[in-house]
């Protein structure tokens, strides 16, 4: 079974600085998707970034980028120029490509605090 591990329950970063959130996963599949979701206090799940395992290039979305290490099964999220609005829970998630339904497996989350 696939598992997703986020080993940092809480992280803190100063405004305008850079922070990296860690995620590791376990799977026997060769092709899959990985996601980072942001959950602000409203609890809406917001997709931040997505990575296809068959792509070697790391995904980037504005200030958000990932470091995808397939062999190490590692998928970290880097937030550059942190802003107060980045404060939220961040969840890493895995989704297989094969299969009838695209079920997501989530990590337990990292709470990010942004300080002045």
């Amino acid at each position: 079974a696939q598992t997703v591990t986020q080993s940092q329950p809480e992280m803190s970063v100063q405004e305008a600085e850079t922070v990296t959130l860690s995620c590791t996963y376990d799977t026997s599949e060769s092709d899959y998707y990985l996601f980072w979701y942001k959950q602000p206090p409203s609890r809406q799940m917001i997709l931040v970034i997505r990575q296809e395992a068959y792509k070697q290039q790391n995904a980037t979305e504005n200030r958000f980028s990932v470091n995808f290490q397939k062999a190490a099964k590692s998928f970290s999220l880097k937030i550059s120029d942190s802003q107060l609005g980045d404060a939220a829970m961040y969840f890493c998630a895995y989704r297989p490509i094969t299969g009838t339904a695209s079920k997501l497996t989530f990590g337990t989350g990292t709470r990010l605090q942004v300080t002045l």
């Binding site: 609890r43 809406q44 969840f91 695209s102 079920k103 997501l104």
Partner: protein, 108 residues
Amino acid sequence: SQTIHQWPATLVQPVGSPLSLECTVEGTSNPNLYWYRQAAGRGLQLLFYSVGIGQISSEVPQNLSASRPQDRQFILSSKKLLLSDSGFYLCAWDQGYTFGSGTRLTVV
């Protein structure tokens, strides 16, 4: 445009009462739909998914059930709520893996 609607936003129900949460999607046909639950301070756990009308798969045995009466409608139900059913329930649609806004359920 493609959107997903979920209601109600908040619900407080007594133990033993029934439950019905509804999720609908717009702008697509034959979507795969999912119900997730998030306990306080925890990640999301998949409860049910559906690949079509009348087709329901359960991931976790529990006090809840799901139904798909129409192509774009997915309902989460219970005949008798337990205290342990409290949590935040999210509907999702795997086109872009979009989530609804969620329902905060408190069983008292």
